[in-house]
């Protein structure tokens, strides 16, 4: 355990931690001079497009590409059998999720298509347009098979098996239990019960999935330009499955046009692209179009949850019992697996509250729909919706105000460290302080009186709250212990160049959240140089230390600490040289603003650039044995706690038009505690973007399917995302409870907004509808569903 640094004590030149410093990435991005994968053009590059299954489930009898190959510019038709000869399949299971099972998955299937939109053959051509011409001419002979579409009946004895060798359609099942739930419900003063649906939705990254693989048959080296969050993980995947040494595979991602978890998975069509590049020995590019994104990007959050909560006569929660069911598609997704979302749900339900008896079961079933996997705030929005939905129902049953009920039941700020009934270890949280801060921000009595006044005029406004916890800074307990080659540690190399400028290469990656910005701030402060002299390198497996990349909110907490330690080590190395050059003990010197200074007086003794000139060009003038390593690497991994939990609370203020069912968002507030804040502006914008992503799932977004398993959304006109006109202004407040696992004290901030927003919206809608005795519990809370709840249209 560490004492944290206190940024306020470092209020001196180069004190950047805790300040809203603009990001270094933005000047190029606002001029359209970024480099996304589709912007990269290589000599002899060809394009691949995929023939995709029109069936939810079908036997593939034959694939005939003869007609396609007659089109000038169409170069090759590739099938699953051809790729299987050079690329090994994968089975996405984690051994710590006991009993989990899935089937081997190939880059392109060998015998059967198992979801509508699955790639079944590849067409390689001189341009994407020609490849699409080729697709139209490829003749695939299918025998349609019965599809498993409804997750509720996936395990029924009469339901066909998706993979006969698995014996059933069950991927994973787990019950998380503590205390005596049955006794607690028997003794309850009141019991509330409800069924929630969180609705299948997807990430809709504006930049679609993109990959450009370049295999050089002469050198045996593979370079992959990839829009990914985890370049080192992908390097390992390509190497393993294409039977190459990791050192021969280089993954580069310069700019990534949005990811949110969508781009941290292994997609069969992307592996196929890389395998085809190896097969053909020339660069092959695949850029998904929007239609194939909807059918092949991972989906998420397709859960049905039955929840029950018991409370005593004093208004205390005594027990929570939930039964979660989720359908994940025909395969668990590699290598994170598709069981983690359900597992997260049963680990996180009830998270903010002080109660003793807990039972939560998740059942994860296979079905013939697009595979689901981890998407921003994995499991959190589901767990928070269930918990906070039950909390509001319990408050209502007791006749208590929802804030008073929460205040009575939230974990006390002085009760840490502690373990939740679900088994989660909390180092330090601030639910009570956060709620207090929220009350300062919203003027609750005023909102309630406004609500009453408006109701008298037939206008239905509601306020909804959602307290939440968020899992950040993951240790190997998340994936590594299950056998997945997913790194929880991360590294940073800091180097001082001859002109005294600094380069920091980090294993964490940038997709717009500001990773490069915060690493630059941390390193500038740690070394003691002006921030404009620090350049940050990310997203290149050949030039950055091995790391996990970006997932589960680890960039600041893990990558940031590695950068801080590498920067401190580099400063110490430079001061050791300086002490020899200046004949002063290293302890009396410091580096400030790019100068070696006298620590006591601040007097400049020598520019850092003079020290580097001597080290790099006149090393002969230094004592022969003097170490002069102006490049230092440090790695960091958390040790005490499996995860650094954060917490917060959100509030939504909205109006429901009871004639049209439309919801108008008036205002949204968030208080969150992500520990040490490195850049307040970036944290606020992560929260705001996350809230709006959560609002999308709550109100608009839905991967709708027909009963036969046909995906009914093929464009952004079918699948609605939040646009500017409908979104509210979002006010963000903070509490800072640094983690003591690191000197920096930072936890993650990227998923808090998404974790709590859907629950706050749901509770606000139901608060608005309460006088009309109507409620909605199934996302998205569309006008149709609201009118159904009001009894104005048939269900």
């Amino acid at each position: 355990m560490n004492e944290n640094i206190d940024p306020r004590a470092l209020d001196r030149p180069n004190s950047y931690i805790g300040k809203s410093v603009p990001r270094p990435n933005l000047p190029k991005l606002v001029e359209g001079r970024g480099q996304f994968v589709d912007d990269v053009v290589l000599p002899r590059m060809v394009h691949v497009a995929f023939v995709r299954s029109p069936h939810a489930h079908a036997k593939i009898n034959a694939i005939n590409g003869a007609e396609a190959l007659k089109i000038p510019g169409v170069l090759r038709i590739v099938t699953g059998r051809e790729l299987a000869a050079i690329c090994d399949p994968w089975v996405a299971v984690l051994v710590h999720l006991a009993g989990m099972k899935s089937a081997p998955q190939y880059p392109l299937p060998l015998e059967r298509a198992t979801w509508h939109g699955e790639a079944v053959a590849a067409v390689v051509a001189e341009s994407r347009a020609l490849a699409e011409d080729g697709i139209a001419k490829v003749d695939v002979d299918y025998d349609p098979l019965p599809a498993v579409a409804d997750m509720e009946t996936a395990l029924a004895p009469t339901t066909p098996l998706i993979h006969a060798e698995l014996g059933d359609n069950l991927c994973f099942q787990r019950t998380n239990e503590s205390g005596d739930v049955t006794a607690a419900f028997k003794a309850a003063h009141k019991i509330v019960e409800a069924t929630f649906h969180t609705g299948r939705h997807t990430g809709v990254t504006l930049e679609p999935r993109s990959i450009l693989a370049d295999y050089n048959k002469g050198s045996g080296k593979l370079v992959v330009h990839h829009s990914t969050q985890a370049p080192h993980m992908m390097q390992g995947v390509f190497a393993k499955h294409l039977r190459m040494p990791e050192g021969d595979v280089r993954v580069i991602c310069v700019d990534v046009g949005g990811s949110y978890g969508i781009k941290v998975h292994v997609y069969p069509d992307e592996v196929a692209t890389v395998a085809i590049a190896k097969l053909m020995g020339r660069p092959v590019k695949f850029i998904a179009d929007r239609l194939e994104s909807f059918g092949s990007d991972i989906h998420a959050r397709d859960h049905r949850i039955n929840g029950k909560m018991a409370v005593d006569a004093e208004g205390r929660i005594t027990a929570i019992d939930i039964d979660d069911l989720t359908g994940i598609g025909p395969y668990s997704v590699y290598p994170r697996t598709s069981a983690v979302e359900g597992n997260q749900v049963i680990n996180l339900v009830g998270g903010p509250y002080d109660f003793a008896n807990y039972r939560a079961k998740t059942t994860v079933v296979l079905q013939n729909k697009t595979p689901t996997c981890q998407y921003r705030a994995v499991g959190h929005p589901i767990a928070t919706t269930v918990t906070e939905g039950l909390v509001d129902l319990a408050a209502e049953a007791l006749g208590m105000d929802p804030i008073a009920f929460r205040l009575k039941n939230l974990m006390r700020d002085d009760s840490y460290p502690r373990t939740s009934p679900a088994g989660m270890k909390f180092e330090g949280l601030s639910h009570i302080k956060s709620l207090g801060r929220l009350m300062d921000m919203i003027d609750y009595p005023l909102l309630r009186s406004e609500q009453d006044a408006m109701r008298a005029q037939g206008i239905y406004r509601g306020i909804g709250f959602a307290a939440f916890i968020e899992l950040t800074n993951p240790s190997p307990f998340m994936y590594g212990i299950g056998g997945a080659r997913i790194s929880a540690q991360d590294g940073c190399t800091v180097r001082i160049d001859p002109d005294g400028s600094v380069v920091a290469a980090t294993g964490v990656t940038e997709q717009g959240q500001g990773t490069e910005g915060i690493i630059r701030q941390i390193v500038a402060e740690a070394v003691g140089v002006p921030i404009h002299t620090v350049r940050v390198v990310t997203g290149d497996t050949q030039t950055t230390p091995y790391g996990g990349g970006t997932w589960a909110c680890r960039g600041a907490g893990i990558g940031g600490e590695a950068a801080l330690q590498a920067g401190i080590a580099t400063r110490a190395a430079a001061l050791r040289v300086a002490s020899a050059m200046l004949q002063a003990s290293a302890g009396t010197l410091d580096i400030v603003n790019g100068n070696i200074v006298d620590r006591a007086t601040g007097a400049v003794r020598m520019p850092l650039a003079e020290l580097t000139r001597i080290v790099y060009f006149r090393g002969d003038t230094l004592p022969p044995d003097l170490p002069r390593e102006l490049m230092q690497t440090r790695h960091f991994i958390t040790k005490e706690f499996p995860f650094a939990f954060t917490n917060g609370i959100q509030a939504s203020w909205l109006e429901v038009d009871v004639e049209t069912g439309l919801v108008k968002l008036l205002k949204h507030w968030v208080v969150e505690d992500c520990g040490r804040i490195i850049n307040p502006q970036l944290v606020d914008e992560q929260v705001r973007g996350g809230v709006v992503q959560g609002i999308g799932g709550a109100l608009y977004e839905h991967c709708a399917y027909s009963p036969e398993g046909q995906l009914l959304v093929g464009s952004m006109a079918d699948y609605l995302v939040p646009m500017a006109a409908e979104m509210p202004d979002i006010e963000v407040g903070h509490i800072e409870t640094p983690t003591r696992e690191s000197l920096l004290g930072a936890k993650g901030a990227g998923e808090a907004g998404t974790a709590g927003a859907p629950a706050a919206i749901m509770n606000a809608i139901n608060d608005a509808l309460r006088p009309l005795k109507a409620q909605v519990l199934a996302q998205p809370f569309s006008p149709e569903r609201i009118l159904q709840a009001l009894g104005k249209v048939p269900t």
Binding site: P22, R23, N25, L26, P27, K28, L29, V30, E31, G32, R33, G34, Q35, F36, D38, D39, V41, S127, A129, G203, V204, T205, L206, E207, P208, D255, V256, G257, G258, S259, Y260, I287, D289, R290, Q511, G512, Q513, G514, Q681, L682, E685, R688, G689, G690, V691, V692, Q693, S715, M716, A717, V721, P722, M723, A724, A725, E726, M727, D729, I730, G753
Partner: protein, 162 residues
Amino acid sequence: MTTNSITLTVNGDQVRRDVPARQHLIDFLRLDLGLMGSHVACEHGVCGACTVRLDGAIVRGCLVLAASLHGSTVETIEGVSDSGEIRDLQDAFIARNAAQCGYCTPGMLMTAADLLKSNATPTRAEIREHISGNYCRCTGYQAIVDAVETTAHKRRSSGPKP
């Protein structure tokens, strides 16, 4: 495949190309001219990532056929960056962190610049309405609204008095 010969002005340069009849403006800009600043994202006119200026008005590049552009004038993010026309707006986006991944940003800037040309005093609601055809998954839009509002304020206070 049918091609059409077109001569047009792109970012001040006269260019002449033979283009396939089916090619849209954004593929023309990206594949034929190497102007990678305008991004492809939905290709059905919903997301606004490919917004460029055609004869002074903003259009969705994915909904305009290149073959129809003989004699036209096209301006892209590269053009308005080089000319300095929207420097203040770009600086406001940087200061306010109104771009995260940056993929929507060129189209968003072209749309915001279009608003500021016609309305020197937009309200926040008017800004939200004008950019409501430009999808941004990262920011939640508030920072973008702030940056556009700030730019309008600054232009009013520094510009010539009416």
